[in-house]
């Protein structure tokens, strides 16, 4: 039943696709197909709006990833600079920081030891100190990333209401609510209070 609806919706959408993302991961298609399968009576306008909603969800996820990467890279940069100053090769990467945040205590101890031994270190002598400094240094960009995420959330809400005005579908709205809740949870995990360090 759902597959038939999806086929029907895709048959309408495929000749008139407006979103052209070169997404190799297939995330966009997965989101789009999920939304289209919930349409009960698909028509040109409803599939077009679903396509825009899927794009907004895709961008929202991208911006969350970007925000996380900005924070991780800024921390890695601070640690590198604390260890060896400007113009050196990158010894600490965003991946390392992610490992530490996921609970790799050995790596954290290793970084802390290097920071304590480093000469001319005016930044911080611990991983948490560098992390707090990094949060402060990229606060402006993090705020822009938050604005972008917020914008996509509002885009989804508005498009959802538009779809609602054209064709009321409770299941599709429930799916979008769940998606928004998931992103909000991801964002709260990223929250950090530099004063706590």
């Amino acid at each position: 039943m759902t597959e038939d609806k999806l086929k029907q919706s895709l048959a309408i959408l495929n000749p008139i696709r407006t979103v052209k993302l070169k997404d190799k991961t297939g995330n966009f298609e997965a989101i789009l197909q999920g939304l289209l399968s919930d349409l009960e009576t698909p028509n040109t306008l409803s599939v077009l709006l679903c396509e825009q909603i899927a794009e907004s969800i895709f961008w929202m996820r991208r911006h969350v990833e970007d925000k996380e990467l900005i924070l991780l890279e800024a921390t890695a940069e601070k640690i590198d600079k604390a260890q060896s100053g400007y113009g050196s090769n990158r010894a600490c990467t965003a991946e390392d920081i992610k490992q530490v945040l996921l609970g790799d205590e050995t790596l954290k101890r290793k970084i802390n030891n290097k920071l304590k031994k480093a000469r001319l270190n005016s930044i911080a002598t611990s991983f948490d100190g560098c992390r707090a400094k990094a949060f402060l240094s990229c606060a402006k960009e993090v705020r822009i990333a938050d604005d972008l995420i917020q914008r996509q959330m509002l885009n989804i809400r508005h498009l959802q209401r538009s779809l609602d005005a054209i064709d009321m579908k409770s299941r599709i709205i429930r799916r979008m609510d769940l998606e928004l809740e998931r992103v909000e949870q991801d964002l709260t995990l990223l929250e950090h209070d530099p004063e706590a360090d």
């Binding site: 822009i144 972008l148 538009s162």
Partner: protein, 182 residues
Amino acid sequence: MTQKQTKANKENAKKSTGPRTKSGRARSSQNSIKHGLNQALNLESDNRFIILLRLVKGDGYSHDEAYSIISAILDHRRVMDACYEQYHAPKKVFGRAETMMMQDLEGDAELGLITIGYNDTVKIARFKTRIGRINERLGSAQVQRVRRLGRLIRYQRRSIAQIHRITREMKNDKTNPFIFKL
């Protein structure tokens, strides 16, 4: 800059006539365009518009309704396509050519082809530090990307609000018994 140099610059600038051919002028007229979202939407040049208009009218919407909603969606598409382009724009790096030149010099010095004195070494080190600081200010690829996209938020707000307003009016037209269509 000395007065003599300023005068010479002005004289040289007079000799330059810029692009002469039609295609050259057309190309250079696009130089200052960053995203083009402040330009008016030209629907006639968009093939999708006529196709979508026909399909939406086929679904039972009036010409005016179909026209306004399709133009709003295509306006939103223009904004989102600009976002996509800005997101994938290449990262700005300061002094890439100069850094490569320095690396070549150091490589030649290591091979013994040239000798670099103490003063030159100090100059190279200072230059590298300066480039490093400027690039740090420019930020990583993610930071640059986020800054570029941040400038397009207001366009997204405008296009989405337009879609929302039109669909709400369409809904009101259908449900409000006091609105009569002539």
